[in-house]
C-alpha cells in the first residue's frame, strides 16, 4: 500500500486475513482488534507474535487461523523476531535475492509480552529504528495463563495475583504507560486505539505501516473473561473506556500529540468500572481516587496536545 485507504461502511474491507474457527472466547475484543488490524495491513504482511492469547487461540497444530506469513517464537521477543525478519528481508532485497516489494513487518504481543517481559526487546527494536509496526493488544493482565496481573493492569483491578483480600485492595500500582515509553524513543508514530472505534483503528494501523521506521500502536482489548463483563458488551465497554478518559485515543507523530478522534463527551469513571466484575470490590473512595488520577493524566495529555498545537502554529510558513 502506498496510501491510506479510508475504510467505512461504504468502503468495507471484505477480505479476511484471520480465519474463523479460532478458539478465542465469546465476545473477545482482542481477537477483533487483531482481525481489524490485519484487514488494515493487507496480505503483504508478516507477523511475529509473542506467546499469549492470540498465539494460542490461532495456532493449535495442525491448524492455523493466519492467512499471512506468521511466526511465533517466545514470550518476550516479538519485537526482536520482527527486527530479524525486517533485517533479513532488507538484506535479501538489497542483494537482489528477493524482488523488491513493500512487506509490512509487524510484531503482535499482549500487555504482558510488551510492558513486562517484552519491554527490553521492544525498546531495542524501537531504538534501532527498524521499519516495523509493533501492536500491543492490551487486555490488562496475563489472560492466557489465567488472569494474573501485569504492569498494564489498572489500579484497583482484581486479578488472581492481585486479589482483593483482607490486606489488599487489588492491583496496587498504576497502569504502566507503554505508549509514552514508545514516544520517549523518538519514533515517528505512536497511537492508541480500540476496536470499538474500528475505522479509526484501521486507519491508525495503516498509518503505522506506511511510516518509515518504527511505529507503535497500543490497542485496548476488552476481555469479558478476565474483566468479568458481559460478552455482548465488549464494544460498548471500549467506548466507555474512551469516554471516561481512562483510555484516551490519540496519535503522536514525530513527537506532536493530537487527539484522534476527538474525545467524546466525558463520563465519570464509575460508569465504566461498575460494568466489570474485576472492579466490583472497589469502595467509593477508591473510585474517587481513580477519578482524580484519570483526570490528572488526561490534563497532562491535554497539555501535550496543546503544546503540540502551539508549536506547529508557530512553525514558520515556507
Amino acid at each position: 500500500m502506498s496510501e491510506i485507504k479510508a475504510f467505512g461502511p461504504k468502503n468495507l474491507p471484505l477480505e479476511e486475513f484471520f480465519a474463523p474457527g479460532h478458539r478465542a472466547c465469546q465476545g473477545c475484543a482482542e481477537v477483533l482488534a487483531l482481525r481489524l488490524a490485519l484487514k488494515a495491513l493487507g496480505k503483504d504482511t508478516i507477523v511475529a507474535n509473542a506467546t499469549g492469547c492470540m498465539e494460542i487461540i490461532s495456532t493449535p497444530l495442525p491448524t492455523t487461523s493466519w492467512m499471512v506469513p506468521y511466526i511465533h517464537v517466545g514470550f518476550e521477543n516479538a519485537a526482536a523476531v520482527c527486527s530479524g525478519i525486517e533485517a533479513g528481508l532488507k538484506a535479501l532485497m538489497r542483494k537482489a535475492r528477493l524482488p523488491r516489494k513493500e512487506i509490512h513487518c509487524v510484531a503482535v504481543a499482549g500487555d504482558g509480552g510488551t510492558a513486562d517481559i517484552g519491554l527490553q526487546a521492544l525498546s531495542g527494536a524501537l531504538e534501532r529504528g527498524h521499519d516495523m509496526v509493533y501492536i500491543c493488544l492490551d487486555n490488562e493482565a496475563y489472560m492466557n495463563t489465567g488472569i494474573q496481573r501485569s504492569s498494564s493492569t489498572p489500579y484497583g483491578a482484581m486479578t488472581t495475583t492481585s486479589p482483593p483480600g483482607r490486606l489488599s485492595f487489588g492491583q496496587s500500582t498504576q497502569k504502566k504507560n507503554v505508549a509514552e515509553i514508545a514516544v520517549a524513543h523518538g519514533i515517528p508514530y505512536v497511537a492508541t486505539a480500540c476496536p470499538s472505534y474500528p475505522w479509526d483503528l484501521m486507519k491508525k494501523v495503516q498509518k503505522a505501516a506506511l511510516v518509515q521506521g518504527p511505529a507503535y500502536v497500543h490497542i485496548l482489548s476488552v476481555c469479558p473473561t478476565g474483566w468479568r463483563s458481559q460478552p455482548e458488551e465488549s464494544i460498548e465497554l471500549g467506548k466507555l473506556a474512551v469516554a471516561s478518559r481512562i483510555f484516551p485515543l490519540y496519535e503522536v507523530e514525530n513527537g506532536q500529540y493530537r487527539f484522534v478522534p476527538k474525545p467524546p463527551k466525558k463520563i465519570p469513571v464509575s460508569e465504566y468500572l461498575k460494568r466489570q466484575g474485576r472492579f466490583r470490590h472497589l469502595t467509593d473512595s477508591m473510585i474517587e481516587e481513580i477519578q482524580r488520577n484519570v483526570d490528572e493524566q488526561f490534563r497532562r495529555l491535554e497539555a501535550k496536545v496543546r503544546i503540540s498545537q502551539e508549536a506547529s502554529s508557530q512553525e514558520p510558513q515556507e
Binding site: I46, P69, Y70, I71, H72, A80, S83, G84, L92
Partner: protein, 390 residues
C-alpha cells in the same frame, strides 16, 4: 591454493562469514567473542560484506533476531560466549526445533559464578541437548574452515538444522595463527546460496511455531530427532567436499598415534594439541599412549569412539567442565555410554581441569596418565579435579 596469513582466529572467523556472504549478523558483545563481531561490523561498514548488522540489546534478542532473519530466508550468523549463551538458552532450543540453519560461533568461556572471562566448556555443556549440530575446534584453521562447512551442512535441505562451532575462548579466539584463507572461487564451488523449504513471505503464507497438544508433541520431537540423525551423511559429505577442494579433510573423531596404544587420552577442543605433545613425550619414554580427539560433539559419534578405543586398556578422558552431581565430566559420560556394550572395554578414568582457562601442560597430561595407570578402581563416580590446591 589460498592465501597464507598470520591472523587472529576471531578475525579469520569473521572473514569466513564475510566470504560466505552472510545476509544478517545479529550479536551482542561478550568477552571473548568481541573481536569476531567487531570485525564483522567493520567489514559491513566498509562495504566488504553486504549484510544487515543488527546490534541487539541482549543475547536473547540476538538469537531471536537470528530466528526471524533465518525464517525469512536470510543466511544468518551470530556469536556469543558463556553468560550470553546461557541467557539465550530458551531461544537456542527454538532455533533448532524450528529447523532454522543459523550458524553460531561460541567462544567457550566458563559460566558464573564466580564470574570468569576465561575458557572452559561449561557454556557449551549448557546447550548440549538443544538439538544443534555441534563441533569443537582444535585450532584456528579448523575454526575458519568450519564456518563454510556449517552453512554447507546446516542449510542443506536434508538437514535444515542450526550449527554451533565451539572455539576455546582466548586460547583460540585471541591467538594469532598461521592459517590459509581460501579463495572466493573455492567458496563459490563449495557453498550454494541458501534456499529454504519454507520461508516467511506473502507469496506463500505459512505458520511457524504453532503450539502442539500432548497428542502431537511426541511426533514433533521424533521428527526432529530423526532429522538430526539424518544429518550424518551430509555432515560427512560436507567434510569430504571441503577436503577435495582444499586438501584438509576432517572427521568426527581424529586419532593420533593410537596404533598399539594401551592408554588413550581423550580430549575435545584446543587441548588436543597439548595432548598430542604429551603422547609424543610418553612414547619417547616407551609408554604406549595415543590420543582420541572428538571433533563432532552432536550428534555424538558413538561408533567412531568405539572404533578408536578398540584395544585400548585405559581411556583418560579430560573434561573442561563439571557436571555437578553427576559422573564428573559430560564427555566422560558420553564415552562411557559409548563403551557400555563393548566387551572387553577400556577402563575410563575422568579428569576435570583447565577450568576458567587454567593452563594444562603436556606434563599435566603425563601426570594424569601416570595416576590413571596406578589406580585400579574405575567406578563411574570417581572423577578427579586435576591440579586443585587442597
Amino acid at each position: 591454493m589460498g592465501k597464507r596469513v598470520g591472523m587472529e582466529v576471531s578475525i579469520a572467523i569473521a572473514e569466513a562469514a564475510c566470504q560466505a556472504n552472510v545476509d544478517v549478523v545479529a550479536a551482542y558483545p561478550i568477552t571473548p567473542q568481541t573481536h569476531i563481531v567487531e570485525h564483522l561490523s567493520e567489514l559491513v561498514a566498509d562495504g566488504h560484506l553486504d549484510a544487515e548488522f543488527v546490534p541487539v540489546e541482549s543475547e536473547h534478542s540476538a538469537m531471536s533476531v537470528c530466528i526471524g532473519s533465518s525464517a525469512a530466508g536470510a543466511r544468518t550468523f551470530t556469536s556469543t560466549s558463556s553468560q550470553g549463551l546461557a541467557l539465550m538458552n530458551e531461544v537456542v532450543y527454538i532455533a533448532s526445533s524450528l529447523r532454522l540453519p543459523i550458524v553460531m560461533v561460541v567462544a567457550n568461556r566458563s559460566l558464573s559464578a564466580p564470574l570468569s572471562i576465561w575458557n572452559d566448556h561449561s557454556d557449551a555443556m549448557s546447550v548440549r541437548d538443544t538439538g544443534w549440530i555441534q563441533v569443537f575446534m582444535e585450532n584456528g584453521q579448523e575454526a575458519y574452515d568450519h564456518v563454510f562447512w556449517a552453512y554447507r551442512v546446516g542449510e542443506d535441505r536434508r538437514v535444515l538444522t542450526p550449527v554451533m562451532i565451539h572455539i576455546d575462548g582466548f586460547i583460540l579466539s585471541h591467538m594469532v595463527e598461521s592459517l590459509e584463507l581460501v579463495d572466493d572461487e573455492i567458496v563459490k564451488k563449495y557453498l550454494p546460496p541458501f534456499e529454504p523449504i519454507h520461508r516467511l513471505h506473502p507469496d506463500k503464507p505459512v505458520t511457524m511455531g504453532a503450539f502442539a497438544l500432548p497428542e502431537l508433541y511426541t511426533e514433533a520431537k521424533k521428527a526432529q530427532d530423526e532429522a538430526l540423525k539424518a544429518s550424518w551423511p551430509v555432515i560427512l559429505q560436507g567434510w569430504k567436499e571441503w577436503g577435495d577442494l582444499t586438501g584438509r579433510y576432517y572427521r568426527p573423531v581424529e586419532t593420533y598415534n593410537l596404533d598399539g596404544a594401551e592408554v588413550a587420552l581423550v580430549t575435545m577442543g584446543s587441548m588436543g594439541e597439548t595432548a598430542c605433545e604429551a603422547a609424543d613425550r610418553m612414547r619417547a619414554q616407551g609408554k604406549r599412549v595415543g590420543v582420541v580427539k572428538i571433533r563432532l560433539w552432536r550428534p555424538f559419534p558413538f561408533q567412531e569412539i568405539r572404533k578408536a578405543l578398540q584395544g585400548v586398556k585405559v581411556a583418560v578422558v579430560f573434561d573442561r567442565c563439571i557436571s555437578f552431581g553427576g559422573q564428573g565430566g559430560p564427555v566422560a559420560s558420553e564415552v562411557r555410554a559409548a563403551l557400555y556394550g563393548e566387551s572387553p572395554r577400556p577402563r575410563v578414568v575422568n579428569f576435570i581441569g583447565g577450568l576458567a582457562g587454567r593452563d594444562v601442560s603436556p606434563g599435566d597430561f603425563q601426570n594424569m596418565v601416570q595416576e590413571a595407570l596406578s589406580r585400579e578402581d574405575d567406578r563411574q563416580e570417581n572423577y578427579k579435579i586435576y591440579g586443585v590446591r587442597e
